[in-house]
């Protein structure tokens, strides 16, 4: 913005100290740089824009003439971006000019046709700005990666394993969604993570509680974050009968709890998770909390014995308190074909709000692995041995639960 084009305040009306061609030094001192334009633009009547449009032709020829004309029009300003402004916002050169330009543009929207739309340049600038805001300075590769991911998903160019496990979507969405719940809501503390083998098959056996099997999900995300391995849970057949739930379970790596799948996964070197208490565990009343139920029929021990993988006992403290189960509607449950209909102090009385789990503090302790590869080959068919190993695992978990409960200060801390 050149000085010559600005006609500062104090050069209008009756001659004062100014000469008419040059403002007085006092006036010059008062005039803020560019400040004159602000007031003038605001006052400018919408219809009278012609002089501004003529301005560039005269600008070079005779600044004085321009000033005269400006006086006739009773507006002391000459626009320096006359023609191009309605169509394209000029690229900002400095903060000052861009500020002015945007102000000027804002003041002149009325003469633009609404059909002209937003110019491409604006879109690009806005897009770049937004991308920077979203992804930081490295926005280009970040965005490219995101687009590559989206393209893979919409063209189906990804792979699932034979159980239907979709590793990509598990890591990017399921784990990402569960992580804040695990870390911020339940504040999970993991102990004994070194007991999980870094590679090869292993069977994690855990107690089951909490009315809704959130403990399984939390164990999955905790193990993944601590060791980088994916826990492959074995789920009841009810899980796979339900729409949505079954699909999500398969995509996140679960499979049906049957000996064929368990042995197949363990032979494949996966880290398999099993909750032998099943619905007896998660559906037990609050008064029975931390009392282990019967450990199924010991099928998990046979699977481990047949494949010779270690059994890692896991004790979870805290999950019992998330939805204290104080009642049940057995008749309705039978009607719906589900194991129980939970009634908690908050559900169903508070409606959807009752679905929010109480923020208990969780402790996960992995115990010392129980080796199964030292038994003779036919051990899995010896029911007495299977019962003994089952009891050993159960006792370990129960004892660890008691000691963790002793260490815990309170339910929520």
């Amino acid at each position: 913005m050149g000085d010559a084009e600005i006609i500062p305040i104090g050069t209008r009306g009756p001659q004062g100290r100014g000469t008419g061609t040059r403002p007085s030094s006092a006036a010059r001192g008062l005039a803020p740089k560019g400040g004159a334009q602000r007031g003038a633009d605001a006052k400018q009547p919408p219809a009278k824009r012609t002089p501004a449009k003529k301005a560039p032709a005269k600008k070079s020829a005779a600044p004085a003439e321009a000033r005269d004309e400006a006086r006739d029009e009773a507006r002391p300003v000459v626009d320096e971006h006359p023609h191009d402004r309605p169509s394209v916002v000029p690229p900002p050169t400095s903060e000052q000019t861009s500020e002015q330009a945007s102000r000027a543009a804002a003041a002149r929207t009325e003469d633009r046709s609404p059909l002209a739309g937003i110019p491409v340049g604006d879109w690009l600038a806005a897009f770049q700005h937004a991308s920077k805001e979203l992804f930081g300075d490295q926005w280009e590769p970040q965005l490219a990666r995101m687009i590559a991911f989206t393209r893979r998903r919409i063209t189906g160019d990804y792979s699932v394993d034979e159980y239907g496990f979709d590793q990509e979507v598990t890591e990017r969405f399921f784990m990402a969604a569960l992580r804040p719940i695990a870390q911020k809501w339940f504040r999970i503390e993991v102990r004994g993570v070194e007991n999980i083998p870094a590679e090869g098959g292993a069977l994690v056996v855990s107690n089951h509680s909490g009315t809704v099997p959130l403990d399984g999900l939390m164990t999955m995300v905790s193990i993944h974050d601590q060791t980088g391995r994916h826990l492959r849970p074995l789920g009841a057949d009810l899980v796979f009968r339900l729409p949505m739930v079954g699909t999500l379970a398969r995509k996140s790596g679960a499979t049906l709890a049957c000996s064929e799948d368990a042995e197949r996964m363990l032979r494949g070197g996966e880290l398999v998770g099993v909750w032998p208490e099943g619905f007896k565990g998660i559906g037990k009343p609050f008064s029975d909390r931390y009392k282990l139920q019967r450990f199924g029929r010991g099928g998990f021990v046979s699977a481990a014995l047949r494949t010779g993988v270690p059994i890692v006992p896991l004790s979870v403290v805290g999950a019992e308190e998330i939805y204290p189960l104080v009642g049940n509607v057995p008749s309705l449950a039978r009607l719906l074909g589900v194991p129980y209909i939970p009634i908690t102090p908050l559900f169903p009385w508070l409606g959807p709000l009752g679905l929010v789990p109480l923020p208990s503090k969780w402790l996960l302790e992995f115990g010392e692995p129980i080796r199964t590869d030292e038994y003779e080959p036919g051990a899995a068919d010896d029911p007495m041995l299977v019962f003994n190993v089952t009891d050993q695992v159960r006792e370990t978990i129960q004892q660890t639960l008691y000691s963790l409960l002793m260490q815990r200060q309170s339910v929520f801390r």
């Binding site: 280009e140 990666r145 590559a148 699932v160 394993d161 729409p243």
Partner: protein, 353 residues
């Protein structure tokens, strides 16, 4: 392998049977190929001698005796009634036909080998299925009707025959869903629909076998003379949503009960035949273990599940894929990035097992 074998192929009126009989006839170790069916084949049979006979009546025994047949390939266990007539006819053809054919084989002194093309539908599809069926597993929910029951009964007769004639090599091939550009089956007509209905909330796992691999495995079984039951499928699996995305077709998720009703509506409109077995398959999916195919039968399919499906898709009219094109245009403006997909699952599920 004795040169100059005589092979009898049933079910040559359908494309898969006809093309298989033709390729078998061109093999140097096979002397003669006799094709048998109730209706004459539509296409060219090449060197195959066609005998119009109904396997449901004892005429077939005479054909086997007169032609000195030593190998029987039974391919006429069919999933669709098609031109043969209604469901009743189909059951007759499948079950009674197999009984008669096996009776004829048992009578014949020359028959040394029997190859039966069965289907993995014998395992059914339910929520209680293990992820991968091996050959020794039984269906979790035994079929009470339809094609899957036919298949189970046919297999029972075949096992009975194998017990009674231990000198005959019996090869039972349980093939996954055959797919390919020329295959007409309930599943391919399902995928050819303009808008594909799916069962809301379920994403079944699918396994395919390319049609050329079906020919190869049947030929392999005839020439190798290995008895037993084998699952035959391409490597890897894919889920239905993934298949639909690869096709670029739009889908219409419907709740389970509506999906079944749609099946009968589509059947009466002759668009597709969503039989109860197919509905169960499209709800729960199925996977079969192919270790025995590889290790005992010694057969290696050319096409993986994903490749077989891709070839099928390439014969369909290309979809618009607008969203993908738009993203590709944006991606071109950006610098290239290295792949950040998980490395572990690179070849579609791997082939362990």
């Amino acid at each position: 392998m004795v040169a100059g074998r005589t092979v009898l192929v049933t079910g040559v009126s359908r494309d898969l049977g006809r093309t298989f009989a033709r390729t078998l006839a061109s093999d140097p170790t096979v002397d003669r190929v006799i094709g048998v069916d109730v209706i004459p084949p539509r296409g060219d049979l090449g060197d195959v001698r066609f005998v119009r006979a109904d396997i449901r009546n004892p005429v077939i025994a005479k054909v086997i005796a007169r032609e000195d047949v030593d190998t029987v390939v039974h391919m006429s266990v069919i999933a669709t009634p098609g031109s043969a007539g209604a469901r009743g006819t189909m059951k007759e053809l499948n079950v009674i036909g197999t009984m008669q054919l096996l009776a004829a084989c048992q009578k014949s002194e020359q028959v040394r080998q029997l190859v039966v093309k069965s289907s993995t539908i014998a395992y059914g599809a339910s929520s209680r299925d293990p992820a991968m069926f091996t050959e020794d597993m039984e269906p979790r929910r035994p079929a009470r009707s339809g094609y899957s029951k036919d298949v189970i009964e046919v297999e029972r007769y075949v096992r009975g025959f194998a017990r009674r004639r231990p000198d005959v090599t019996v090869t039972l091939l349980r093939c996954a869903n055959v797919i390919g550009p020329r295959v007409v089956s309930p599943l391919t007509s399902y995928f050819r629909m303009p808008v594909i209905p799916t069962v809301l909330g379920f994403d079944p796992r699918l396994q395919f076998l390319h049609e050329s691999d079906l020919h190869r495995v049947l030929r392999h079984a005839v020439l190798e003379d290995k008895g037993g039951t084998f699952n035959i499928a391409g490597d890897g699996l894919m889920v239905l949503s993934q298949a639909l995305r690869r096709m670029g077709r739009s889908n219409l998720p419907l709740p389970g009960f509506a999906f079944g009703g749609l099946g009968s509506a589509l059947k009466s409109a002759r668009v597709a035949d969503l039989s109860p077995e197919l509905v169960a398959f499209l709800t729960y999916g199925r996977g079969v273990d192919t270790t025995r195919m590889r290790e005992e039968l010694g057969f290696e399919p050319d096409y993986t599940t994903v490749e077989a499906f891709a070839e099928f898709v390439s014969t369909l009219p290309p979809p618009p894929r607008r969203a993908e094109k738009a993203l590709a245009a944006v991606a071109e403006q950006l610098p290239p990035v290295d792949e950040d997909r998980p490395a572990q699952l690179s070849p579609a599920g791997g082939r362990h097992g």
